[in-house]
């Protein structure tokens, strides 16, 4: 088997005295979907944010494609930016730029950061908006959109820089329940197209249907990992069973 597209080894990170990552390994093959699940405080979001340097682990390595970073060498901002350039990110709170139109949000990376010609970037952005079902919203502003539409613009913005990997940080957690489906559908179709995705989520049905592998994190370690048919259906670890039980039956 060829080397995974994304590989993290031995990630360790503390916030003050609180050790949130205690040696995390993640390997993501090209074209696959990895879901990170676990209780709040388990470290799953911190792992995700370590993959693009929004968090800086104390030790461990991250490699995406041919860009590798050893966190223990305290890499400078330029090295972190190079790693970050390999991935796109979709945030829980979408973080769209409120002063820019939908189209300008999507072209912000290609035009402002990558210096690509505006006309070409806009053409590509319109295709991406079409892709997420929002071709008619190009000239709207984020405030005029529903939460689900905003999140789909966020996905288009993340894809516009042509990343190797797309990172999703609880993309549906802030949405009204009836808007969750439209976002998950877009993500599912991206997976089918062959995008490499790492998704922090509480949507177990999405993980069941779309993920190639699931990592269950608790207390800053990967407790269990494998295909969803194992981790989510027949978990070996008591902690995984407990967590899934609580999701199924919150009362």
């Amino acid at each position: 088997m060829s080397a995974p597209l994304l590989e993290a080894r031995g990630l360790v990170k503390s916030f003050g005295d609180n050790r949130v990552l205690r040696g995390i390994d993640v390997a993501v093959p090209a074209g696959s979907v990895t879901c990170l699940i676990g209780p709040s405080g388990s470290g799953k979001t911190t792992v995700l944010r370590s993959l693009n340097g929004l968090e800086t682990p104390e030790t461990g390595t991250v490699r995406v494609g041919d860009v590798e970073l050893d966190w223990s060498t305290r890499p400078d901002a330029r090295a972190v930016a190079r790693l970050r350039g390999q991935s796109g990110m979709v945030f829980q709170a979408h973080n769209l730029f409120p002063h820019l139109s939908v189209l300008d949000n999507v072209t912000s990376g290609p035009v402002f950061a990558q210096g690509r010609p505006k006309a070409e970037a806009q053409e590509e952005a319109r295709a991406l908006l079409e892709r997420v079902g929002l071709a008619d919203k190009a000239d709207s502003f984020p405030v005029q959109l529903s939460g689900g539409q905003q999140q789909r613009v966020g996905i288009a913005r993340a894809l516009a820089t042509r990343p190797e990997v797309v990172l999703f940080d609880e993309p549906t957690s802030a949405l009204d329940p009836e808007l969750v489906g439209e976002v998950l559908q877009v993500m599912q179709s991206l997976a089918a197209e062959g995008w490499t995705m790492v998704v922090v989520t509480h949507e177990m049905r999405f993980a069941r249907q779309v993920a190639d592998q699931v990592l269950f994190l608790d207390g800053g370690v990967v407790v269990e990992q494998g295909p969803p048919s194992e981790v989510l259906v027949e978990p070996r670890e008591a902690r995984t069973r407990q967590f899934l039980q609580r999701l199924l039956d919150p009362l």
Binding site: L54, A81, M89, H99, S108, G109, A160
Partner: protein, 222 residues
């Protein structure tokens, strides 16, 4: 004797208007523009993580806010010649007022930059922008909206603070009023007319502030 000499009001309207448009208004415009540029620089310096960069900015703001504007004017105009630097009234006025505005406005700008949510920085970084591009394309456009009310305060104060430069022989609205009033001792009349002029200018600026706030808020959820 009437407190207000209406003939004198009529005959002084023109000369005082000249003091306004040739003194007060250009002085306000030039020093506000220079002050804003200085404020942005100082705000960014204060936000720097490097102590060597932030400390001078902190010191500057502390000194300017901690001393009277009139004293600052006097130091530039009457004090600097002792160091061999003699400036005319206008350059002295522009330097002192710009330095003063820069300090106050820098706090408004710094607060506005800090008020832009952290997620905006993160989103800009994940699409590949560096610090400078993020500031220019994402943070400052949003900070501008937040900074309008406090900067409007600064501008309106500045319009009236320019009257202090009458003490260093710059001919602006208040000094014109003094000059015209002196021979006849009609101070109440002339200062009254000058006060109305200042007030009208500030009314217009307040109106402009409201318009600008509406314009900049059109894409923001209420």
């Amino acid at each position: 004797m009437n407190a207000i000499d209406w003939d004198l009001v009529r005959s002084s309207l023109g000369p005082l208007f000249e003091g306004l448009v040739r003194g007060t208004l250009p002085l306000t415009a030039v020093t506000f523009a220079l002050g804003l540029a200085l404020a942005l620089l100082v705000a960014l310096m204060r936000l720097s993580g490097n102590w060597l960069v932030s400390a001078p900015a902190r010191f500057y703001v502390s000194v300017i806010r901690g001393t009277p504007l009139l004293l600052q004017l006097f130091i530039v105009f009457f004090g600097l010649p002792a160091l061999g630097l003699t400036l005319d009234p206008w350059p002295s006025a522009i330097i002192a007022l710009s330095l003063n505005v820069g300090a106050y406005a820098s706090e408004a700008v710094r607060g506005a930059i800090l008020a832009v949510p952290r997620g905006q920085w993160e989103a800009a970084m994940t699409v590949g922008m560096g610090r400078v591009t993020t500031l220019r394309r994402v943070v400052l456009p949003q900070a501008a909206r937040i900074a309008v009310p406090p900067l409007s305060n600064t501008l309106i104060s500045l319009v009236k603070d320019t009257s202090l430069v009458s003490t260093i022989l710059v001919t602006e609205l208040l000094r014109r009023a003094q000059e015209i009033a002196a021979p006849s001792f009609a101070f109440f009349t002339l200062y009254g007319v000058a006060a109305v002029y200042y007030w009208v200018v500030c009314l217009v600026l307040s109106f402009g502030q409201t318009r600008l706030e509406t314009k900049l808020s059109r894409h923001v959820a209420v």
